[in-house]
């Protein structure tokens, strides 16, 4: 099949799979409901008539499950787009949000909120504080990397590593200094998960993810040119440093809030772009939207699995994506080595 044919097939498959996954995620869980009933109730809410579900089921679907499914889609889509953009930028299929230093920064912010007791008493304090931690570490990386003039790509990476290590050290110190019963909150957050997240969290995530992904899509063509190498990009009049810093910053602005709301959700930013690149090609105007849909699908399904695989406890979402992602990646990498 030609690339264009594969691209159409992949997009069609995603366009079908995503609504199906949404419906499944709204219907299934500890209280299984009929998907048909959920569909009718949805039509009823949209004003198209049809019977509603019993009141408790209505609450479960539209107040408990819907925000969670929306967050899962935004988190997955955001991480996948960030991964795809950074992989073009670094010309390396192993680049993802983990390079930005926002994860450890967000963790530090979260632990601080718990340590000071805000997380228990104030609305949205934990995600807001984690978000702030991510942004502060981003600013620190920018400032440090620019202290000696325009940073090289490896300069940015090394600064990111140093700031991450610093934040991780701070997190450890704070954890030790935190009362034991509060440490549990942090551990749950670090493992990644969407339990108890509501519309306010969905709104916080959407406010960063949607504009961020839109901006990255506007930068699709310069990103394509950058993937040809720095020299060729400069010769083709792409302002290499400006585009690099813009993409880096936008990615951090997406990854920061995503990590703050969902904790660590590993491998999504690697898996979704990797799988889609072979289907839709490496041009970012095709890859970014497709990766968003694939990442959304992945995390919606992973979150559904996290809350329904075991009836007694909810599995951490980050563990589910890692259980799937780690073997996928070993296999994918082996395939790549075989190709030389």
């Amino acid at each position: 099949m030609t690339l264009a044919g594969r691209r159409r097939t992949a997009l069609l498959a995603l366009a079908i799979a995503l609504p199906v996954a949404f419906l499944a995620a709204l219907s299934l869980g500890s209280v299984p409901l009929s998907p048909l009933g959920v569909l009718r109730s949805g039509l009823c809410r949209l004003g198209a008539g049809g019977p509603a579900l019993p009141p408790t089921s209505e609450v479960i679907v539209w107040s408990v499950r819907l925000p969670r499914v929306l967050i899962a889609a935004l988190v997955g889509g955001g991480l996948a787009v960030v991964g795809a953009a950074l992989q073009s930028l670094f010309r390396n299929p192993l680049a993802d949000a983990g390079l930005l230093g926002v994860g450890p920064g967000a963790a530090l912010g979260a632990v601080l909120a718990v340590n000071l007791g805000w997380a228990q008493t104030r609305f949205l304090a934990l995600p807001a504080s984690a978000c702030a931690g991510a942004l502060v570490s981003l600013l620190l990386i920018y400032a440090l990397a620019h202290a000696g003039g325009r940073p090289s790509l490896s300069g940015l990476l090394l600064t990111g590593l140093a700031v991450s290590a610093l934040a991780a050290a701070g997190t450890s110190v704070l954890l030790v200094a935190t009362e034991e019963f509060r440490v549990r909150t942090v551990l749950f957050w670090l493992a990644g998960g969407l339990e108890g997240r509501g519309f306010e969290h969905a709104l916080l995530t959407a406010a960063f993810v949607l504009p961020g992904c839109g901006l990255l899509l506007l930068l699709a063509r310069p990103l394509d040119v950058l993937s040809l190498g720095e020299e060729e990009a400069a010769a083709l009049s792409v302002p290499v440093h400006a585009v690099r810093l813009a993409v880096f910053g936008i990615c951090a602005l997406i990854a920061g809030p995503v990590t703050a709301v969902a904790g660590a959700v590993p491998f999504v930013g690697l898996m979704a772009p990797h799988a889609l690149r072979s289907l839709v090609g490496p041009l970012n105007r095709h890859l970014l939207p497709a990766a968003f849909a694939a990442g959304a699908l992945l995390v919606v399904v992973a979150d559904l699995a996290a809350r329904s695989l075991d009836a007694r406890v909810e599995l951490p979402l980050g563990s589910v994506t890692a259980f799937v992602g780690a073997p996928y990646f070993v296999l994918a990498l082996r395939g790549q080595e075989g190709r030389g």
Binding site: T2, S227, L228, E231, E232, L236, G281, P282, L283
Partner: protein, 259 residues
């Protein structure tokens, strides 16, 4: 006629070390020049300085009579195309998409592709004779075909000056001949072509050869004049003898290490 590109007493330093030490060189539209010289003579540096990628420490480069620094970046990239020896494009990128990225300076980040862009891409694919490879991912091509795809990207820019850094480095003889025939066609359309060429025999493709040695131009003239010059023997540390082939002006060269 105004030169397509002109370097005046150009000095360029890389990593604090002076590489070009006062190079003056002019190239007319439709002229082809082969730049030769031993390793570390500054050939790649000169090519990149002419492309506006390295700022001069002293002297200046004029494109169509106007200093490079005065050209907006996109306008410069619409006139000057650089084709490097190494192709770093992603393996999954299709040939036609790779060539189409050469239209970036004409369209910028957002504007839609026009008929003019599609025509330029088709023309570049036709000139390099890789139309049949258009849909193939770069990773499935031979080194020679990849090089042609990169050249096609340069041609899609629709430049008035084409700079090539060792375009024949990875090519077998047949692909080399093909490449130089393409460059001849481009030149005949009025494009100034400057190519760094390692193989001195191959450098005779251009009617004008320039020898760069230790950051200075050591000889400039016809292939026979330059390749058989004392300057060339000194630069390469060789004894060079020209042998007429009997076919017009064509000559072969014999190289021997100095005793």
């Amino acid at each position: 006629m105004k030169p397509a590109i002109e370097a005046r007493a150009l000095q360029v330093a890389r990593g604090g070390r002076p590489v070009l030490k006062g190079v003056s060189l002019a190239l007319a539209p439709g002229e082809a020049l082969a730049l030769i010289g031993p390793n570390a003579a500054g050939k790649s540096t000169l090519v990149r300085a002419l492309a506006g990628l390295l700022p001069p420490a002293a002297g200046e480069v004029l494109l169509e009579g106007r200093p490079l620094a005065a050209w907006p970046r996109a306008a410069l990239a619409r006139r000057v195309a650089l084709v490097a020896a190494e192709d770093e494009a992603p393996d999954r990128l299709a040939v036609v998409d790779r060539v189409a990225l050469g239209r970036y300076p004409h369209r910028g980040p957002l504007a839609r592709f026009t008929g003019e862009d599609h025509a330029a891409v088709a023309r570049a694919l036709r000139l390099t004779q890789i139309e049949h490879l258009a849909r193939r991912p770069l990773g499935t091509l031979s080194a020679g075909e990849r090089q042609l795809a990169q050249l096609a990207r340069g041609l899609a820019q629709d430049p008035s000056l084409l700079l090539l850094d060792e375009p024949a480095a990875h090519l077998d003889v047949r692909h080399q001949l093909h490449l130089f025939r393409v460059l001849d066609e481009v030149r005949q359309q009025g494009v100034a072509v400057l190519a760094v060429i390692h193989d001195l025999q191959r450098a005779a493709w251009a009617r004008r050869v320039t020898l760069l040695d230790e950051g200075r131009i050591a000889a400039d003239g016809t292939p026979a004049e330059v390749i058989e010059s004392e300057a060339a023997e000194r630069a390469f540390g060789l004894v060079i003898r020209g042998v007429p082939t009997g076919e017009g002006q064509e000559r072969l060269w014999r190289f021997e290490e100095r005793a």
